[in-house]
Amino acid sequence: MGDSVDGGESLMALRLSRVLGSLIAIGLALLTASLFIGLAGANPVRAYYYMFVKGAFGNSVTAVETLVRATPILLVSLGLAVAFTARVWNIGAEGQLYMGGLVAAWVGLSLGGLPSSVGLTVMLLSSALAGAAWALIPAVLRAKYEINEIFTTVIMNYIALYLVSYFLTGPLRDPVSQFPESPTLPQSLWMPRLVQGVRLHLGILVAILVITPIVHFLREKTTFGFRLKLVGANPEAARYSGTDIGSIVVLSMLISGLLAGLAGGIEVSAIQHKMRMELSPGYGFTGIAVALLGNLNAVGVLLASIFMGAVINGSYTMHRMAHIPVGMAYLIQGLVIVFAVASEPISERIFRKEVVESAD
């Protein structure tokens, strides 16, 4: 028996087994989806070639588009990873994202004449706060009255969507547009692009280079992150060691709402330049799959977001070239959730064999 208590090896093995589990999940999801691609009358190998090689990473333009897709997913899933770590199941990121977008547009349209940097900051901050506020209601209901947050967050999604619909057909509607959408934001509030000709905007960099490391730090290095894991792993042990479970539930929910709202604000500012009913093709739900696939770890979530961005972005090329409906992207997404959840016992077994049993 190895009495080595430094544990470096076991830590590596634990991480590796989890990465392996996620890779297996992706592999099985793609394999299963290829059945349906075959049923749709296409060659799966060719379809995936168009999806990933041509569509998602074919050239710098498509690669940037993959990142454009990945960014809102990344923000949402980073926040969900925080909540899920505490086993707070926020299924309401989609609604929080929409509230963020709505408030961003409203604030942006009300801000007149502010310098671009100030205006953008105010607009994005208010979008984040709007998302957090939307998450606060289910958070308090859960923390104070033990009302299951899964139900309340799902319900809050609908309320958000109808609220947005009301504003876009009413007070916030662009009078000259025939669609239910807000007027276009002044150009000073458009997220700056870094390279001419592609949609590589500042928000992408902020999400990857600033927010991802912050969430990583928060989860891995702070007492708050410790408490998140503790509440998630065993609330009774958390209580016993002096952690106030209610405040952790509320805070984790607020952070996930904050990032989902910010994702909505960035989409409005950088991509749409206005608020629309079609702001998100379900990023709030995709984020659930990505958070699980990334093992709730910020680095893992980053990689999983890029993968999912590639699937969504590549699905358009696949549609054009292999005539597979774009919906295939969402089928893959759903399959990834199923297999990501199922892969946990598999990676568990790998780890047990490699480390625990070999140690005896």
């Binding site: 544990g7 470096g8 076991s10 065993n234 042990a237 958390a238 060691s241 002096g242 106030d244 625990v356």
Partner: protein, 509 residues
């Protein structure tokens, strides 16, 4: 009372997977129309024996005969088919279904279209015949504990059980409900049914049963009739001949020892409402082990939770190092130097999915030097953990692996190591050696003594009388939410403690 044997158990041996031997060759018999009490301390093996009879556990050795026929009981359903049913300590009812629905639930021969009316009618008849008043249409979650128990009994009668096993049935009942239950038991045996009454309350065994079987440490030590024994003899049988404990004497009992913990007239509510701690007062000094003896479920758990800040106090005061800590948060108490080794190790003492290193720092990660301004210092944590693992000989493949991969004994070593490494002024230890092997048990006890000698106050709550006798400097006995006796160790014999534990003083109440 007839003499026909309805159940005969011969040479029953049961070893639990952890190696704990619960039954060491037990013989037991039950006659038609009798109430047979099974009396003994916690861990004597009573419940195990009855769970074997009810098909919840399989014996490793031994034979069971029911109505003269050798049987092999593989499941509760097998037992039920033989007419044997058990009312467990913890109810097995579904809260949002009605009484009638719960009673017919799980019956094997139910038609696809339920005839609930017919069932309700039969339930009413049954409940009248044995004096169990229950409304078949009431929902379970509207019922009191006593009413739920009646539903459990009716469920067995509905299935035509004629051997009914009751596991500590009075522990959840108020006094008038106990009387009602006893009436029911008597009317059931009059109708030719047979009852096994598992209890650790002596006066119950004496007042309700036709025969008493006394178990101790997995063996039957006596089988008596209540009219043949007095309560003194019965206590001696239950507690056994205890050798004068090989108590480790204190290095130097200080005259001026500081008072660390003072509990004043404390009242605490239990989980089911009603008082679980009914006005308890005592003090613990530095360099002293205060042992609380008592049978499980007499308020010790609630007392410990109130002291450690996990359960609200109804009235009374708790003082710790001279400060009133009533109502303070758990984290404040930890920071003041209160350690707590909980009985529920996996459920409360660790987060099993988190790595060993995180669990070792559960009580300290937020204070200097383990973290500063909310940022955890990983290296300090790892060093601290490695030291605990080494000092307390926790066997683990690495400190980054989840705790759930550790054996029970090693998890307890980790918890004990963690709690004893925080320079605590008070250590609350709740059954700290339950379920441990001999080596780990001795290790934990040595650690507690060493800490005591270092000047800490220790509140030891244990249902193991030997442990109390071996370690305590002062012994208190809890019974029915009260501290019925407090005396320095050596001034109270095991028999006396046993009498108090079993409610001896309350016999003539």
């Amino acid at each position: 009372m007839g003499t026909e044997e309805v159940v005969l158990m011969k040479g029953i041996v049961k070893v639990y997977p952890g190696g704990v031997v619960a039954n060491r060759g037990v013989d037991f018999d039950l006659r038609r129309g009798e109430i047979h009490a099974l009396l003994g301390e916690n861990g004597a093996g009573k419940t195990t024996l009855m769970k074997i009879l009810a098909g919840c556990l399989r014996p490793d050795e031994g034979e069971i005969y029911v109505k003269g026929r050798k049987v092999d009981i593989r499941s509760p359903r097998d037992a039920m088919n033989l007419g044997i049913g058990m009312v467990h300590q913890h109810f097995t009812l579904i809260p949002n279904l009605t009484v009638a629905e719960n009673i017919i639930l799980g019956m094997s021969d139910l038609p696809h279209l339920l005839n609930l009316e017919e069932a309700k009618e039969r339930i009413r008849e049954l409940s009248e015949s044995v004096g169990l008043k229950v409304d078949p249409e009431a929902k379970i979650d509207q019922l009191s504990a006593g009413e739920k128990q009646r539903v459990e009994i009716l469920r067995l009668l509905y299935r035509n059980a004629d051997v009914l096993i009751f596991d500590e049935p009075t522990s959840i009942l108020a006094v008038p409900e106990v009387e009602a239950l006893f009436e029911t038991l008597r009317s059931m045996v009059e109708q030719g049914k047979s009852v096994v009454f598992v209890t650790h309350k002596m006066w119950e065994a004496l007042s309700i049963s036709d025969r008493i079987t006394v178990m101790r440490k997995g063996r039957v030590v006596a089988r008596v009739k209540p009219e043949e024994v007095d309560d003194k003899e019965l206590v001696a049988l239950v507690v056994g001949e205890r050798v004068a404990p090989t108590r480790v004497e204190r290095a130097k009992p200080k005259e001026t020892a500081e008072e660390i913990l003072r509990v004043e007239n404390l009242r605490v509510e239990g989980d089911r409402g009603g008082l679980a701690v009914k006005g308890v007062s005592f003090t613990v000094h530095e360099g002293e082990i205060f042992g609380i003896a008592g049978i499980e479920g007499n308020g010790q758990k609630e007392l410990v939770e109130a002291i450690t800040g996990l359960r609200p106090v109804k009235s009374g005061r708790i003082l710790f190092i001279g400060q009133d800590i009533t109502g303070r948060s758990v984290s404040e108490l930890i920071e003041m130097g209160m350690a707590y080794i909980p009985e529920e190790r996996i459920e409360r003492g660790v987060a099993a999915d988190l790595p060993v290193v995180d669990n070792s720092a559960l009580k300290r990660f937020w204070v200097n030097p383990f973290s500063e301004r909310g940022i955890i210092k990983g290296e300090v944590l790892r060093k601290f953990c490695s030291k605990i693992v080494e000092t307390f000989k926790v066997k683990c493949p690495g400190i980054d692996i989840p705790v759930r991969y550790l054996s029970g004994g090693n998890i307890q070593r980790l918890i004990v190591g963690r709690e004893l490494s925080m320079n605590a002024r008070l250590v609350v230890a709740e059954n700290p050696t339950a379920g441990l092997d001999v080596k780990s048990t001795n290790f934990v006890r040595e650690m507690l003594i060493r800490l005591r000698d270092g000047g800490a106050a220790i509140l030891l709550v244990s249902t193991d009388l030997d442990e109390i006798l071996e370690l305590s400097d002062v012994i208190g006995v809890m019974y029915d939410g009260r501290m019925v006796a407090i005396r320095p160790a050596g001034q109270m014999t095991a028999q006396e403690i046993g009498t108090y534990m079993l409610g001896g003083e309350v016999v003539g109440r």
